[in-house]
Symmetry: C2
Subunit: 409 residues, 2 copies
C-alpha cells in the first residue's frame, strides 16, 4: 500500500480571499498522474500553532506531505518553525547554507538582513532542496512513516523543485492507473444510465466531471496484474455504448481533435460568429500550430456587418430575424467563401441576460456548418448565464465540426 498524499498551501492571503490554488491544482495533476492518491488538500493561514498541528497530524498518518509557501524572509513565513515544532526537533541555523545565501545576495547586490538569514534555518535532521530560481531553499524531512517536502509558493520555483527533487524521490507510485475519456453533447444523467453496470466493474472507480457541453469520465483502477486490462476493457465497452460521443482521451480537446482531422486532409476552417464574438475562433486556435488549418473569422455583432462581411442577405435577416437557422446557414456559407476556407461555421444566438423573447428565449442558439463532406444545422436552447451559454455554444460548434470533418468523403 502506497502512502497517501496531503497537499498544504500556506498563506493567509490564499485563504482569506478564497482564490483558486493554482499551485495545488498543478501538484494534484502531477501526483495523480504519477499514480499516487491524494487524501486531503489544505489551505492554511500563516499561524504557527495551526500549521504545526496540521503538519503533525499528516505526518502521523504516514502521509507524504507537500507544502507550498511560507519559506520567505519575512515574519509571516512560518513553515520552517512550524515544521520543527511538528517534528519535535529544534530549528538550527546552517552555516554552510548561510554562506551560500550571502554569496547569492552579494552577487546580485541585494542587501542581506536578518530576515534573509532565517532562510538558512532548518529543523534538525531535514535536508535542503535547492532552489534554482530564488533564494528560499526547500526542506525534505522524514518523520516516522511520513515524509514532508516544503516548497516555496512562487510557482516557477515550486514547479522546478518538484520536478528536480520531489518527483524522483517519490518515484512512480504505480498505485493507480488513470484514464480520462472525453465525451461531447451528452448529459451526465443519460451517460450514467447507459454505463450503470460498467461502473460496477470490480476494482474500478469512476468519476464524471461536467462542463458546458462536455463530460470527462475518469476511470481509475488500483495497480495490479489485471489493472491495464481492466481499464482497456472498460474503455472498449464505454466506446461501444456511447459511440462517437466519445471524442478523445486524456489530453485531447475538441479543438485539437477537430484540427487533427482537418490537418490530415489538408483542409481549413473559418468562422462567422455573433453571440460568441470570437470565442469559437479563440478555442480553435488554442492548440499550437493551429494556423495550419485555421484561416480566420468574422465577428458580426451588428446586423449590418452580417450583411457586409459575411454576405447574409438583407431579406433573410428581415424575414427570419438575426437568430435563425437561415442566418446561421448564410453565416457558415459566408465564412467559407469570404475566408477561403474548406469548412465554414456560422453561429448566432441570444447569450443574455437581455434580448430574449417568448419564441426565442435567452439561450437560443443556431449553429450551422458547411463543408466539402456535409453540412449541419442545429437549434439549441442552452441554460445558464451569459458565460455558460457562450461556452456551451463553442463546444457544440466544435463537436459538430469534428463529427463532420471526420466523416468519410
Amino acid at each position: 500500500m502506497l502512502p497517501k498524499v496531503t497537499l498544504i498551501a500556506i498563506g493567509t492571503e490564499l485563504v482569506a480571499l478564497g482564490r483558486a490554488d493554482t499551485n495545488g491544482e498543478w501538484l494534484a495533476a502531477r501526483i495523480v498522474r504519477a499514480g499516487y492518491e491524494i487524501e486531503q488538500t489544505l489551505r492554511v493561514a500563516d499561524d504557527m500553532i495551526l500549521l504545526a498541528s496540521v503538519f503533525q497530524s499528516a505526518l502521523e498518518r504516514g502521509n507524504v506531505v507537500i507544502s507550498t509557501g511560507g519559506l520567505g524572509p519575512t515574519e509571516d513565513d512560518r513553515t520552517r518553525a512550524a515544521l520543527a515544532a511538528a517534528a519535535g526537533v529544534s530549528l538550527v541555523r546552517d552555516d554552510v547554507r548561510l554562506a551560500l545565501l550571502r554569496g547569492l545576495f552579494a552577487a546580485r547586490s541585494i542587501p542581506f538582513g536578518p530576515g534573509q538569514a532565517r532562510q538558512a534555518d532548518r529543523p534538525a535532521g531535514a535536508e535542503w532542496i535547492d532552489n534554482p530560481f530564488g533564494s528560499a531553499p526547500g526542506l525534505d524531512l522524514r518523520r516516522g512513516g511520513g515524509r514532508l517536502f516544503a516548497l516555496p509558493g512562487v510557482p516557477a520555483e515550486m514547479k522546478a523543485m518538484f520536478d528536480a527533487h520531489v518527483a524522483p524521490a517519490l518515484g512512480t507510485g504505480r498505485g493507480v492507473l488513470h484514464r480520462v475519456l472525453r465525451i461531447a453533447s451528452r448529459g451526465e444523467g443519460t451517460v450514467d444510465d447507459e454505463l450503470k453496470d460498467v461502473y460496477a466493474t470490480p476494482g474500478l472507480s469512476v468519476t464524471i466531471l461536467s462542463h458546458p457541453g462536455q463530460l470527462e469520465l475518469h476511470l481509475r483502477v488500483v495497480a495490479g496484474p489485471e489493472a491495464q486490462r481492466t481499464i482497456a476493457t472498460v474503455e472498449r465497452e464505454v466506446r461501444a455504448r456511447l459511440g462517437d460521443a466519445v471524442y478523445g482521451a486524456d489530453a485531447d480537446t475538441l479543438a485539437s481533435v477537430a484540427g487533427a482531422l482537418l490537418a490530415a486532409r489538408g483542409e481549413t476552417v473559418g468562422t462567422a460568429e455573433s453571440c460568441t464574438a470570437g470565442l469559437l475562433a479563440a478555442a480553435l486556435t488554442e492548440p499550437p500550430g493551429s494556423s495550419v488549418w485555421f484561416r480566420g473569422g468574422l465577428i458580426v455583432y451588428a446586423d449590418v456587418l452580417k450583411r457586409s462581411l459575411a454576405g447574409v442577405a438583407a431579406e433573410t435577416l428581415a424575414r427570419h430575424g438575426a437568430v435563425s437557422e437561415a442566418v446561421a446557414g448564410e453565416l457558415a456559407a459566408g465564412a467559407r467563401e469570404r475566408l477561403g476556407a474548406d469548412w465554414g461555421i456560422g453561429v448566432t444566438g441570444i447569450a443574455g441576460p437581455a434580448g430574449g423573447g417568448a419564441d426565442k428565449p435567452v439561450g437560443t442558439v443556431h449553429i450551422a456548418i458547411r463543408g466539402p463532406r456535409g453540412e449541419r444545422n442545429r437549434r439549441y436552447l442552452f441554460h445558464g448565464d451569459r458565460g455558460q451559454v457562450r461556452a456551451h455554444t463553442v463546444n457544440a460548434a466544435l463537436d459538430g465540426l469534428r463529427r463532420l470533418a471526420g466523416s468519410p468523403a
Copy 2:
C-alpha cells in the same frame, strides 16, 4: 474578536482529481463579504477517522466550521458519524425526521431503503437544517466555543441552505471592510515599491493578486469607528500615486470600464486580431449590453486575409512582416473602416510556442489603436506560454482602449 471560519469540502472524488472546489469558492466569497475571516479551507477524502479528527481540531480552535458533502444515503457518506465521533456524542435516529423522509420518498414514488433511513441520523444535540431541494438534511452543532454547519455537496441545495440557515445564524460579521482596487499595466514589484509606506498604515492588511497584465490590490481593515475612513484615505493615496494605472474598483473589469467610456460618448469599437484570434472581441463582449458599443471584429490568421478583410497593403506585409507596428496600424485602421466603428484595434504577434526568431522572439506583440481622440502604437514582449501571451495581449489592448477612450477631445 469574531470566530474564524474553517471550510471543509468532503469527498474522495474532489480530492483525488484535484479539481477546483466551486462550492468552497462560493462560500468563501459569501463569508469574506459578510466580514468573517477564513482560517483554513480543507478538502478531505471520505475517511471516517480523518474526518472526525479534522472536525474535532477545528471545533477545538473555536472555529465556525462549514462542511459540504458526505450527507447522502450511501456508505461513503460519513459526515454524520464523523461529526458524532468528533463531538464525543452518539448518533441517534430521529423518528420524526424519519417519518418526514418516508413521506417525501413516498410522494415521489422512490424506494426508501436503509441508506435513506440513515439520513435521519444525527449526533445527539445537533439541530436539523432543512433542505428545500433534496432529501439530505443538514446539521447544526454547537460544541464548546465552536459551531459546525454540515451542508450537502449539491450546489443548489448547499447554497439555499447557507442563505436560509447559516447566514442568518452567523449574522453580519462586520469584522472586515474589503475594497479591491484594479490596476493595469504595472508590475507587482513597482507597485510594491511605490506603496511600501502605504502598506504600513495601522490596521490595514494588503494583498496583491497578479494576473497577466493586471493586478488586484485587496485592502482590508478590521471594523471599527475609523475603518471606513482608513480605507478611503488609503484608496485616495493609492490613486494619487499610481494615477490612471488604477482603472477601477471591486467588480469593474477593463472591458466594462472601456465600454462605459464609449457608451457615454455614443462611440463604438471594432477589432482586427491575429495572434489573439477573437479573444479580444470576446473580452469586449463579456459585459452584458456590449452590443451598444461593440460592432464586430476581423480574425485574420492567414496573411491573405489581413489584406482582403482588413485592407493591409501587400507592400506593408512584404516590407515589415506580419508582426510589425506597420501591420498593426493598418489592421486598426482597417477595423475602424471595414466595421464602421469609431475606434479600431489591431493586434498582431507571436503567441508561440513556434514561430519566434532572433529579432522577433515568441511573445513579441504589436497593438495599435486608432480613433477620434487619439492613436497608440505599442510593441510588447510578453512572457509565458501561448495562453499567457494571449491573455497579456488582450489586457494590454483593453487598457490602451480605456486610456484613449477616456481622454478629452
